[in-house]
């Protein structure tokens, strides 16, 4: 799992544990992101002159957590890689990278999606919300509160995806029973097996949302 953190550019001096803390507390992560984003964007190598112009890195604006970010990236860069490697937002986790685990779940225009199976270039006019953008300043999102209250995690790697997925699930409004919560959260795998506490957390968040 460590190598996932090392893939990121511009993560200097920030420990994995510190980032995870920032992801859960939200406020610190949101403050950190734009700072790293600027440095990371500047570090993107210029495209080779021989590369076909249409496929080389192109400048575009991504709207993440209420802020506009200018990035220069190739069309093949997935949203999860843009967030982590180009904007320095490490809250969104890269798990399987094939849409099978849900660790990379983010919200696009309020709808939960796997950020590993979509290209950043597809979302230039849309509002992307990551785990860093859920809290309102120092006040945690009700789903974050509920995950802490019900201990809805163990190692925490799947947690940002679980929380973003739960936010999307509640917004969708199709879920009422415990079985429906389990089915509705089926796209998020937890290797530690914190599922029963995750169901409790989602149930609690549904009540307060």
């Amino acid at each position: 799992m460590d190598n996932f953190e090392e893939q990121g550019k511009g993560g200097e001096g920030v420990s994995r544990r510190g980032l995870l803390g920032a992801a859960i507390t939200g406020g610190a992560g949101a403050a950190l992101a734009p700072l790293l984003g600027n440095r990371a964007a500047a570090a993107v190598p210029a495209s080779s002159p021989s590369a076909p112009p249409a496929s080389s890195a192109a400048g575009m604006t991504l709207h993440v957590n209420g802020q506009a970010h200018w990035v220069e990236i190739e069309p093949r860069v997935t949203l999860v890689d843009a967030l982590r490697d180009h904007l320095g937002m490490y809250g969104t986790k890269k798990g399987c990278d094939h849409g099978q685990c849900g660790a990379c779940t983010v919200l696009i225009n309020g709808v939960r999606v796997n950020s590993c199976l979509t290209l950043a270039a597809m979302h230039t006019n849309e509002e992307i919300t990551t785990i860093e953008g859920l809290a309102d300043g120092d006040r945690l999102h009700p789903v974050q509160e509920a995950f802490i209250e019900h201990d809805g995690f163990q190692c925490g790697y799947c947690t940002p995806g679980q929380i973003c997925s739960a936010v999307g699930l509640i917004h969708e409004g199709h879920t009422k029973t415990d079985d429906q919560i389990r089915e509705g959260m089926a796209g998020n795998i937890c290797r530690c097996g914190a599922y029963s506490n995750i169901v409790d957390a989602v149930k609690k968040a549904m009540k307060v949302s």
């Binding site: 496929s55 849409g99 779940t105 590993c116 199976l117 290209l119 089926a186 796209g187």
Partner: protein, 329 residues
């Protein structure tokens, strides 16, 4: 992932022209299948043509049918009131597939074109006639527990993975396909082709063809339809065997029925033999079992997937029982 360019046309004509002038370009809709395959190296397009901005995401209804735009997401279709009420097997099938995150972006048009989950198709170092025609089929002598028992050939035994397309086959959907000059309609059963000599050819689409909509006719049986799916996990898994059935029962007799099978065949499998065995019969478990036996008589097991023959029969019987119960309710 290979390098490629990205374009975002705003009209269907422009999108089709781009595909025709760049033969190795691919359409990009939800991307959940294409981007997965890009990472595996299964596809290496020069360009992705984003077709999410063509206004193809509408779902419209009239007295004769429901028409789902090819760009409508799986979630939009599954939770559409008209589809849930009048075509329940379709809503059930969509919700039985993938995860909420995937269904939120995957489109109905893309779902029709989902590629097989055969391990050897997804591994570019393995022999696979579907991915690389003429290279052989590693599944014939390899791990084939999840593979097909109907419609196979010596060249390929891969299953079609879609749940949605199975329900659409039972509901006799019609696919609207646009080319340079016209929109033509193709019944779903004719849309998917049998493998024959070339497993790489899965449907009747020609270069540049764009699926624009899926139309589902209203019938006396569509409202009494069910989708039953058996899989290794209780959720978020492809079918080992599934059945979409729609029945019109009157005074205990089956007046009409439509049955399609998934997870067991090389394409969404219309069960004509089972349908013929049922029409005019009493809606009883004995008749359902006899129909399942009739359909699976031609099944061919591989080394590891013989269990699918009995599993598929039981799934069919369960689906028929549930649909017949709906009629009585």
């Amino acid at each position: 992932m290979n390098d490629f360019s990205y374009s975002r046309p705003t009209t269907t004509t422009e999108a089709i022209q781009t595909l025709l002038s760049h033969p190795d370009a691919l359409y990009l809709a939800g991307g959940t299948n294409v981007i997965d395959h890009l990472k595996l190296g299964v596809v290496t397009p020069s360009q992705l043509v984003d077709i999410r901005h063509l206004g193809l995401d509408k779902i419209s209804t009239d007295a004769q049918s429901v028409t789902i735009g090819a760009g409508a997401t799986n979630s939009a279709a599954a939770y559409h009131h008209e589809i849930q009420t009048h075509f329940p097997a379709l809503a059930e099938a969509i919700l039985a597939g993938a995860s909420p995150q995937l269904r939120n972006v995957a489109t109905t048009g893309g779902n029709l074109l989902q590629k097989t989950r055969c391990t050897y198709f997804r591994d570019i170092h393995s022999a696979c006639n579907k991915r690389q025609p003429g290279s052989g089929c590693a599944a014939l002598e390899g791990f084939n527990r999840s593979h097909a028992i109907l419609g196979t050939s010596d060249a390929c035994i891969a299953t079609h993975p879609s749940d949605m397309a199975v329900a659409l086959t039972a509901l006799e959907a019609v696919i609207h396909i646009q080319d340079q000059s016209v929109v033509r309609t193709v019944p779903i059963e004719a849309f998917y082709v049998s493998y024959g000599e070339d497993p790489a050819k899965e449907n009747v689409l020609k270069p540049g063809d764009l699926i624009v909509a899926i139309e589902i006719p209203r019938t006396a049986w569509a409202g009494h339809s069910r989708y039953v799916k058996a899989r290794d996990r209780s959720s978020y898994e492809f079918a080992l065997a599934s059945a979409a059935v729609a029945v019109d029962v009157d005074a205990g007799k089956i007046r009409n029925c439509r049955i399609a099978l998934g997870g067991v065949a090389t394409k969404p499998w219309r069960a004509h033999a089972a349908e013929a065995a049922l029409v005019g019969q009493s809606a009883t478990p004995v008749a359902f079992r006899a129909a399942a036996e009739a359909e699976l008589a031609s099944a061919k097991a591989q080394k590891e997937n013989g269990f699918k023959i009995e599993l598929c029969k039981r799934v069919m019987v369960k689906a028929l029982q549930e649909a017949a119960e709906m009629r009585r309710a």
